[in-house]
């Protein structure tokens, strides 16, 4: 039966309490931008709700930690909710792991247009237009469970469009078996469409990426439902800063003088993809030790300074966080066969690699060279086997570089972090 058309916004994971991650040096000219990026992105969601004249807004959790976000977080949300209420736009909010409804200050009353779903059970709410039922929303705030229990969202079928609001990990099979038209999911920072067909299952993602592990565009989902129940979804990008990890292959490095040209082209491409947004870039250089001389001592540090100088001050800026030197995929076999110290070193490293670096115990060095407090041990010792292996790889690269006469100067990184030599 033909009903009225409507539209709504699906957003989640504002994480207003969490700043940008993975930043090493905080440039003064980008400080305000980086601090404000999550807030502006969240504000854009609400602005779009008013501009697009949506019927309601669905929030799938992890908006703000009311405690750790301070006064600004709660006040921000309250102001936005009141703006929506003034426009007659209702809000349906399922709490996540950080915005547990119980944590919301009792003294701060939410407007009547904001409906917070219970964390004890799935709660059905009917959204009406002019008193006529239009949409049935089934929602539940997260109770700490990791996965979404789809069976709880069973309901008596009616003629309304049905939206399920949930926070957590989703299993497409179980979610697809319920009679839900749209699953508005939260808890995943990267936007993802698990199912584009009926039912539509979507993670809208965070409006603003925080770390390098969240590359690409971010925003919210604008959903249009026409009178025939045909659904159109649009991913609206509102992020102000994007992150990217760029890998420079050994072959690119071997080009020597053209490396800066290569980086320029890469930056231009990144900025083109970011469509006028600021970009935080992390460079990973696969070092070819045989041709390392073309990079030269301290070249990477110079390169980073050049990147920041050339591209990090524009508007929009492409700020290079760091250049990470990756060990070559394979060291020359003849080095290991050499009857030299380098050969001995590589053979020792190979022996450790066979044992998954389990015998690479640094406890004695930590005890002898650090003040000795427990937190130093916790900080300086690798946390797990993966970190241990990564450490071995870095150590091998450093050892090779030093035993071959500091052709790359891999000790330089200590000076970049505001160390003593700066």
């Amino acid at each position: 039966m033909a009903k009225e058309s409507f539209r709504f916004i699906h957003a989640s994971d504002f994480h207003l309490e969490r700043p940008m991650q993975d930043v090493l040096d905080l440039p003064d000219h980008l400080r305000r931008t980086l601090v404000d990026a999550p807030w502006k992105a969240a504000a854009s969601v609400f602005e779009h709700a008013i501009v697009e004249n949506v019927d309601f807004v669905v929030l799938s959790g992890d908006l703000v930690n009311p405690v750790s976000a301070g006064a600004q977080g709660v006040a921000f949300l309250l102001d936005r909710f009141e703006e929506l209420a003034a426009k007659g736009i209702e809000v349906y909010w399922a709490g996540g792991s950080v915005d547990d409804p119980d944590r919301w200050p009792e003294s701060v009353a939410l407007p009547d247009s904001v409906h917070v779903f219970s964390k004890k059970q799935v709660e059905p709410v009917i959204h009406r237009r002019n008193g006529i039922p239009l949409v049935t929303l089934l929602g539940r705030s997260s109770d700490g469970a990791e996965s979404i229990r789809a069976a709880e969202y069973g309901h008596e079928p009616d003629d309304n469009f049905v939206i399920a609001v949930a926070h957590g990990k989703a299993d497409i099979e179980t979610l697809g078996s319920e009679r839900i038209d749209y699953w508005a999911l939260g808890g995943q920072h990267q936007p993802e469409t698990l199912s584009a067909q009926q039912p539509c299952i979507r993670y809208c993602g965070t409006p603003q990426a925080r770390s390098l592990s969240e590359p690409g565009a971010h925003g919210f989902v604008l959903v249009d439902i026409d009178a025939q129940r045909n659904m159109q979804t649009h991913q609206v990008e509102v992020d102000g800063v994007r992150t990217t990890i760029q890998e420079i292959d050994a072959d690119d490095v071997a080009l020597g003088r053209d490396l800066r040209q290569l980086l320029s082209r890469r930056v231009a491409r990144i900025q083109s993809e970011a469509s006028g947004r600021h970009v935080l870039a992390h460079w990973r250089v696969h070092m070819d030790l045989e041709n390392a001389s073309v990079v030269g001592p301290s070249a990477l540090e110079d390169l980073l300074a050049w990147l920041r100088r050339e591209f990090g001050h524009g508007s929009p800026a492409c700020w290079s966080i760091d250049i990470e030197v990756l060990p070559p995929k394979q060291l020359p076999k003849k080095w290991q066969d050499e009857d030299t110290i380098l050969g001995d070193f590589l053979r020792v490293a190979a022996g450790h690699r066979k044992n998954a670096a389990k015998e690479l115990n640094l406890k004695n060095i930590v005890d002898s060279e650090s003040p000795g407090a427990a937190h130093w041990t916790a900080t300086l010792l690798p946390v797990d086997a993966t970190a241990q292996l990564a450490m071995l790889e870095r150590s091998t690269l450093l050892g090779v570089d030093m035993l071959r006469g500091h052709q790359i100067d891999l000790l330089a990184p200590t000076r970049r972090y505001g160390g003593l030599d700066k």
Binding site: L24, A71, A75, I341, V366
Partner: protein, 1084 residues
């Protein structure tokens, strides 16, 4: 590898220098300072490792011109090579133009050079093999500890870099990251920053809690504020109520007085103002109705007079059923009239037809008129049905046999023609053959085919017998040959015989060896061979006899068969000749003749249907001829019978059967026409009689009606004169009646004339009632009479209708009169009921009550006026009820005091509200400033940076530490495996270089130190040694390293540049000897 020749094209101060024939052992280049010795060493390094930026800067372009670069010739594994390397000044490449050319002239590249260099890179070459003054000078500039350290590094592993150096660099780098003391180290500082930021973030987060507390306080105050405002509103309303009550109090009291007066008056307000008017109108209506009733009575009297004046004749109306019956018969009269006319027309047509039939039958005019006049015919033959029946059978026989004879004649003609055609075809087909008859020809052909087939069978049998005879003859020849000389059998028999004889003799020789047989005696095998030989001989004999007997028998049998076969052949040939004689002579072969005969037979068989058709046609022709003859006989007999019957009936014999039939048919038609005419005449007579009866009855009825009307008119004239006095008043309505009377009079005059015309016929009609026949004119007259009677009755009915209308009008007026009477009664009752309803007995009492009510209304008006004033003052500001409560309730006198109390309460509450609003503003401002403070996310971002830096530092520290950990392992390996050997060899070189003054270089276990033992056995640390001695140790350690490389197969030229500058003469000589011996040792 050894350098044999060197050619410097251009390098530093050297241009075009050629050094040839360098020895295999050691070469010494001697010269003053700046002679170019170091340049030559750098030239050698350049040839091996290219133009590094440092060398390019220092030695290029050549001072004295020449092409930059040069060449050296070396010997190495695989023979001699020329290594040439030249540089382009405008190109900055390290490698330059390198060419390595072998002794065979083949040009090779970098890989050959790398192989010659034993994959030793420049760093190792410079540190180990090419020691220059610079290294010595560097050593000299170091203090004692550093110099000792430097020398220790040489002993503890030196390839490209020193292991000790690397370890120390790593430790220093770790120290920058993490310091053992709390104040220093990058991570310590980061930790401090982090702690500071965390404290700040905690404080900022606490401000968030402060914001929540403020929000709670604001909510509480807002609640209080709302409540106070609500109370103030109530109090203000109450205050206004008091104020208004005081204003309206005088009017309120006056209104109360008027209310009391109204209550005292006790007027009947329920009396309607219109009661008096209503009573008056009822009286007027009663008078009007009574006037109208009198008028209606007058109208009814006039109507009765008009009714009486109408000329209505009751006697005439009594004849009405009869007149209506007569008028109903008018269609019947018209129909009879038309019927009579139609019958008369048919009668004339039938008479005409009768005349024509008579004319066709040859009846004359007279006879025809007589026939019409119903007279008998006398000249017509008697062609009655009986006579016709008698004639019909002979006539039919004549016609039948005549027809049969004609059909038989036609059939015989057709069959005759068919038989002749078929006979002609058959004769044509047989004309080419010997036989006239088809059957004979077929029989002869069949016999010929039989003979030919038998002849062929005999020929086949003869061929088979001849073939068999040839086979038997060949077989007999073969058997005869086998019997005479059987080659194969003889060979086989011979073989068996020879074998048997051999075995028999061999066995005999073995059994009985003698002087003829030089065979070993072996009776067992000999006996066995003997038996085998005897058996084979027996077999040869038996089988030979049996084969001979078999061959002879077969030959005899074969010859017997051959003889019998020849007899059979002769017999068959006799039969063949017999058949050849019986067959007609022919030149073709037997097969051709058989085929021709079979074709002839097939052709003859196709003629068989033709033969059969011919025979059938002939038979049919004969049968038709016979039937024609029989029909001719029967026809003659039938004609004779026909003539005989005519004669018996007396009819002329020339009359053919056909003419008799025509006459019979015309006679029947004439008789039928005459009978139909008779029938029509009878029917016409009947209809005329019926019409006459009806016209008679109508005429009588008209007379009766006319007489009755006349009598009635006389009576009405008498009564009309009597009532003329009363009718004069109503002469106008009766004008129509007078017109109808005039018409009646005119009708009467007509009727009076009409009886006069028909009066003469009346007597004749009355006398001939039974036989009256009327014609069509009578019918028309009767119809006119019926119309006149109908008009009279219609006129009377019209008068009746007029009277009925007057009567109905009178009834209507009577009803109106009754209705008016009832209305007048009802109005009288309404008058009484109205007074009763108003509670008054009389009209005067009612008027008194109405006056009292008017006074009550005036008082009410005054009351309303005061009420309006009060309400105008109260307006919408306060509730009327609230004011009423204050003015009507107790304490109306102390309203002023109560008003003052409320005012005071309001002032107090407003003061409190003002305080709260101010406090709210402060709270809002504080909350706003707290919410606007963005330092928390700022600090968090800084904390993230610090933590990331900490992580990076920790990761870097881990990398450094892990590298150190692995290098310690390498160190252990070196110290345990390589250092003892290196130090032992270095000790030997040191002993030689110092001519026995210092005998040993060693390192204490687990310590990174070197010790030097002198000849006296004293272990001295490096720090206490002189500069020259330390350089001696330096050279000794280098030589030991070069020797170690040589032992590992890497033999490179050792280039020492000014290393003896600090040596005295004796030590220089010793050093020269050591180097000479070292060079020889390496060669070996």
């Amino acid at each position: 590898m050894k350098i044999k020749d060197a050619q410097v094209d251009g390098f530093g101060v050297w241009s075009g220098l050629t050094v040839d024939g360098l020895p295999d052992t050691m070469s010494v280049f001697y010269g003053p300072n700046e002679a170019g010795k170091t340049t030559l060493m750098q030239f050698v390094r350049t040839m091996f490792y290219g133009f590094t930026p440092e060398r390019r800067q220092r030695y290029l372009p050549p001072v004295y011109g020449g092409k930059p670069g040069g060449a050296i010739r070396v010997t190495g594994p695989g023979g001699g090579y020329e290594i040439a390397r030249r540089a382009q000044l405008d190109q900055g490449g390290v490698a330059g133009q390198l060419s390595v050319t072998g002794s065979d002239g083949l040009a090779q590249g970098q890989h050959r050079l790398a192989m010659l260099m034993g994959s030793i890179d420049e760093t190792i070459f410079t540190n180990v093999f090419a020691i220059g003054l610079r290294e010595l000078q560097e050593l000299s500039t170091l203090d004692d500890t550093a110099a000792a350290d430097e020398l220790y590094k040489l002993s503890s592993g030196l390839d490209r870099v020193s292991l000790v150096d690397v370890t120390r660099q790593l430790k220093a780098a770790r120290g920058q990251v993490v310091s053992a003391t709390p104040e220093h180290g990058q991570m310590q500082q980061l930790f401090l920053k982090r702690e500071k930021l965390r404290d700040e973030i905690d404080q900022l987060t606490a401000r968030g809690r402060r914001w929540a507390e403020l929000a709670a306080l604001r909510n509480t105050q807002q609640g209080e504020l709302d409540e106070l405002k609500q109370r103030i509103e109530q109090w203000e309303l109450e205050s206004r109520t008091f104020e208004v009550a005081l204003q309206v109090r005088p009017n309120w009291q006056q209104r109360t007085t008027i209310t009391e007066q109204i209550n005292a008056l006790a007027a009947r307000t329920d009396l309607p103002e219109s009661a008096a008017e209503k009573l008056k109108s009822i009286n007027a209506e009663i008078a009007q109705r009574q006037t109208k009733l009198a008028e209606i009575k007058q109208q009814r009297r006039a109507l009765r007079e008009r009714s009486r004046a109408l000329p209505l004749r009751a006697s005439l109306l009594k004849l009405r059923p009869k007149i209506e019956a007569a008028s109903e018969q008018s269609p019947w009269i018209s129909q009879i009239q038309k019927h009579i006319q139609r019958i008369e027309s048919q009668l004339s047509q039938t008479a005409e037809q009768l005349r024509e039939d008579a004319k066709r039958l040859g009846i004359g005019e007279e006879d025809c008129e007589a026939l019409l006049a119903d007279r008998r015919m006398v000249r017509m033959p008697d062609l009655s049905p009986q006579a016709i029946n008698q004639l019909s059978e002979p006539a039919r026989d004549v016609r039948t046999y005549l027809s049969r004879m004609k059909q038989a004649k036609q059939q015989s003609d057709v069959d005759k023609k068919e038989a002749e055609r078929l006979a002609k075809e058959l004769a044509g087909a047989l004309s080419t053959r010997e036989h006239d008859n088809l059957h004979d020809a077929m029989t002869a052909t069949s016999e010929l085919i039989g003979l030919l087939r038998k002849r062929l069978q005999i020929q086949e049998a003869l061929d088979k017998q001849n073939h068999r005879r040839i086979q038997l003859e060949e077989e007999a020849v073969d058997l005869a040959a086998d019997e005479a000389l059987p080659v194969e059998r003889s060979f086989m028999m011979g073989l068996i015989f020879v074998g048997g004889a051999f075995f028999a003799l061999w066995g005999l020789a073995k059994v009985m060896p003698g002087q003829y047989f030089n065979i070993k005696h072996d009776p067992n095998s000999g006996l066995l061979f003997l038996l085998l030989g005897a058996f084979m001989l027996f077999f040869w004999f038996t089988w030979g006899n049996m084969l001979d007997r078999t061959t002879v028998g077969e030959l005899d049998e074969c010859e017997d068969q051959l003889e019998a076969l020849k007899k059979e052949i002769r017999k068959t040939e006799v039969d063949r000749d017999e058949f050849d004689r019986r067959l007609p002579p022919h030149t073709g072969s037997l097969e051709v003749r058989l085929r021709d005969a079979e074709a002839e037979l097939q052709t003859l068989e196709t003629l068989l249907p033709l033969q059969h058709n011919h025979q059938a046609a002939t038979e049919r022709f004969k049968a038709a001829r016979r039937r024609a003859g029989e029909a001719a006989d029967a026809l003659r007999h039938a004609r004779a019978q026909w003539e005989k019957t005519l004669q018996q009936l007396g009819i002329t014999q020339s009359l053919s059967p056909k003419s008799i039939r025509i006459m019979a048919e015309g006679y029947d038609s004439l008789l039928q026409t005459r009978r139909r005419m008779q029938t029509l005449e009878d029917e016409l007579d009947q209809r005329r009689l019926e019409l006459g009866a009806i016209t008679q009855r109508v005429d009588g009825l008209l007379k009766q009606a006319t007489a009755t009307k006349k009598a009635s008119d006389e009576v009405s004239k008498v009564s009309g004169r009597e009532g003329s006095a009363s009718a004069s008043a109503t002469s106008q309505p009766t004008s129509k009646e007078s017109r109808s009377d005039a018409r009646m009079e005119r009708g009467d005059r007509d009727k009076r004339n009409q009886p006069a015309n028909s009066g003469s016929n009346m007597a004749a009609a009355a006398s001939a009632v039974a036989t009256v026949r009327a014609d069509a004119d009578d019918a028309t007259k009767a119809l006119d009479q019926i119309n006149r009677l109908t008009a009279m009755i219609s006129e009377q009915e019209q008068y009746i209708q007029q009277r009925k209308g007057l009567k109905e009008e009178d009834v209507t007026l009577a009803k109106q009169s009754a209705t008016l009477s009832k209305t007048i009664d009802r109005l009288h009752r309404s008058h009484s009921a109205l007074l009763a309803e108003l509670g008054c007995e009389t009209e005067e009492q009612l008027h008194e009550q109405l006056d009292r009510k008017a006074k009550h209304a005036r008082l009410l008006s005054q009351h309303a006026e005061f009420n309006d004033r009060i309400r105008a003052v109260i307006g919408g500001a306060v509730a009327y009820e609230a004011v009423a409560r204050h003015l009507d309730g107790p304490g109306v006198e102390d309203l002023e005091k109560r008003w003052d109390a409320v005012q005071q309460r309001i002032v107090q509450a407003e003061k409190r509200v003002e305080q709260l609003v101010g406090r709210q503003g402060e709270i809002n401002q504080e909350m706003k400033s707290l919410a606007a403070d963005t330092r928390l996310p700022d600090a968090k971002l800084e904390l993230v940076c610090i933590e990331n830096q900490l992580k990076a530092c920790a990761a870097h520290w881990q990398t450094l530490a892990a590298t150190t950990h692995m290098l310690d392992k390498v160190c252990e390996v070196y110290e345990t495996e390589r250092q003892p050997e290196t130090l032992r060899e270095a000790s030997a070189f040191l002993n030689q270089l110092t001519e026995g003054k210092y005998v040993r270089v060693w390192t204490p276990l687990g310590k990174n130190q070197l010790r030097i033992d002198n000849a006296a056995g004293q272990a001295l640390p490096l720090e206490v040694l002189s500069r020259g001695t330390r350089e001696t140790v330096f050279i000794a350690l280098r030589l030991s390293l070069a020797a170690a490389y040589a032992r590992r197969g890497v033999m490179l030229p050792l280039v020492l540049d000014d290393v003896f500058v600090n040596f005295d003469r004796a030590r220089t000589l010793a050093a020269a000897r050591v180097l000479r011996d070292f060079a020889s040792l390496v060669i070996k």
